[in-house]
Symmetry: C2
Subunit: 336 residues, 2 copies
């Protein structure tokens, strides 16, 4: 049923070693030979057995992906970026959602799982909260994504800068200025600071533009559309138009759009709003948003880890991603 390297070798008229080398992108294979082998594999629909590979190679070719949340669009996109890149390097990925603190302990203590993976990608900010020295008790290479840690390779977005971009775009408009931040459940294992950073950048740049943000104009909602709508309503019903709102996430900005529609307010004139994320649906909603290349961040993290697994052993590296503002109808300029 299942094909083996042996059969591919016969078909291609080479030895199994050569097939293996092709499989592993080994440099010393003549281009023609490589092509012939690849053609054979393709024709036969050959899929190598990863388990055999692991036993023979002494590596597991599996990476653990540890996330504290799974249900949001951001993490879905991040996951896609990670998995796709890992797959391209012929690594498998095993997912560990960190709901509840017990799970991380369990993960780290599970000898079976430890056997399974060669490295870890972790999406989190302050490991120091859980481990005093800020290090995961493991000898596997670790890469942090959507966060920063001095001990490990880290891939992060400059969220503060994103907030500044929003401020610069809104500060030129008339009307009151508002911001809606996001808080998370207290019982989550790792705190997420990205929302705070965005708001801080927003405040700082507004201050600099001579239009400081009133403390009372900052509200905080939990991460769901219904709550966003409530916060938006609060603002829209008690303020004279026009009003400018920076939402720390697209989902929150969506709440503003929906409430504005309900109140028959014109978005772009009466209400200007900027979200954060630039998720795929933002474009069709005409939402101006601070764009973050989520998939690319996942891919970058995967590359860093694969790099380490391939032998790189230098100091921790930092990859900074810079957000950019994508302007759409929700921040129309007067006269446009």
């Amino acid at each position: 049923m299942k094909l083996t390297i042996q059969e591919v070798a016969e078909k291609a008229g080479v030895g199994v070693g050569t097939v293996s080398r092709v499989l592993n992108n080994h440099k010393s294979v003549r281009p023609e030979t490589r092509e012939r082998v690849q053609a054979a594999m393709f024709e036969m629909g050959f899929v190598p057995n990863p388990h055999a590979r692991r036993v023979a190679g002494g590596k597991s070719y599996t990476v653990s992906i540890i996330l504290q949340v799974i249900g949001t669009e951001f993490y879905l996109r991040l996951l896609n970026g990670l998995e796709k890149t890992l797959e391209a390097h012929r690594y498998d990925s095993a997912l560990f959602p960190l709901i509840g603190r017990e799970r991380i302990e369990r993960y780290l203590n599970s000898s079976t799982l430890a056997y399974q993976s060669d490295g870890i990608v972790m999406a989190t900010h302050n490991l120091g909260e859980l481990y005093p020295d800020g290090k995961l008790p493991t000898r596997q290479p670790v890469v942090i994504v959507d966060g920063m840690n001095l001990n490990y390779d880290s891939v992060y977005l400059d969220n503060r800068f994103g907030g500044e971009l929003a401020a610069r775009a809104l500060s030129g408009f008339d009307g009151q200025m508002y911001a809606i931040s996001v808080h998370q459940d207290i019982d989550e294992v790792f705190a997420k600071t990205v929302f705070d950073e965005r708001i801080e950048g927003f405040k700082a740049a507004l201050e600099e533009a001579g239009k400081p943000l009133l403390e009372s104009h900052v509200s905080t909602v939990s991460f769901n559309l219904d709550n966003a709508r409530i916060a938006a309503r609060e603002i829209l019903e008690n303020t004279t138009m026009p009003v400018n709102i920076f939402a720390a996430a697209d989902l929150v900005a969506l709440g503003v759009l929906e409430e504005a529609a309900r109140l028959n307010l014109e978005v772009g004139r009466d209400v200007r709003v900027i979200g954060f994320d630039d998720h795929p649906w933002s474009a069709e909603r005409g939402l101006t948003s601070v764009h973050q290349p989520v998939e690319a961040m996942g891919a970058a993290a995967a590359e860093l880890l694969v790099d380490r697994l391939s032998g790189y052993d230098g100091a921790p590296r930092k990859v900074r991603f810079e957000p950019r503002l994508v302007e759409r109808a929700s921040t129309l300029h007067p006269g446009d």
Copy 2:
């Protein structure tokens, strides 16, 4: 570094075959021999290499767990039950969160992953929505948990009966009767019908008790505490006490408790409330709740699958779990 079966064999003074047999709970090993080998393994801290096992045995000893949601307490508990039982049978589990429809296609099409698992546990109700014949396009054994499917072994809770239990408990009390249901995001791949079933059972039993539930007394919230509080407030502020509320989930009932506290209403007298789940924290909150043995359901599903993987090939089996009511302070009887 890593120990092998070979070293265990030497230490125990047996052949590697015997060690392997002990590892696999093979019957034909003398009890004393078995003990000696186990002692050796324990002393050395031996952990078998699962990859070698897979190559040699031709099975992957991995089960895929496909869930549409991960972030809730219910799924966390279910997952724990599944993983623990699978582990006891020396199976690994790989988790696949189904956020977005594309992911299931991707999972099923990934040849690497297909290689990885021997069977699938899936938490979902209507596979028929995605596949006309109600079957997953795979030849792996499939077990459905927290749902029912005629094609596969299924483990489910009688949610309707749970609603009936709540109705029977509340129907004896004075005051108006209310129910709060839960709806889910439309874009979720698989619809969850458990909440509807609970409410239906509640309605039916109330009808039977001669106290039919008014349509206008049923509200529906999305699954988060803030929304539950809003729905609770709506009821509590517009009704004369006492009032009886059945919440389709503990989280929703918690919203009722919190709003009652805010309005200085006495729970158990002014407001009687019954939740559903009986999550661990319900006890300390004094919440009467319909108990479902979530971990046990996970364990049962795991057992069914392991059974199939061990050769069982009979018709699909159904395992029905029956909920029971756990009465606490939130439904105090008058005079207690």
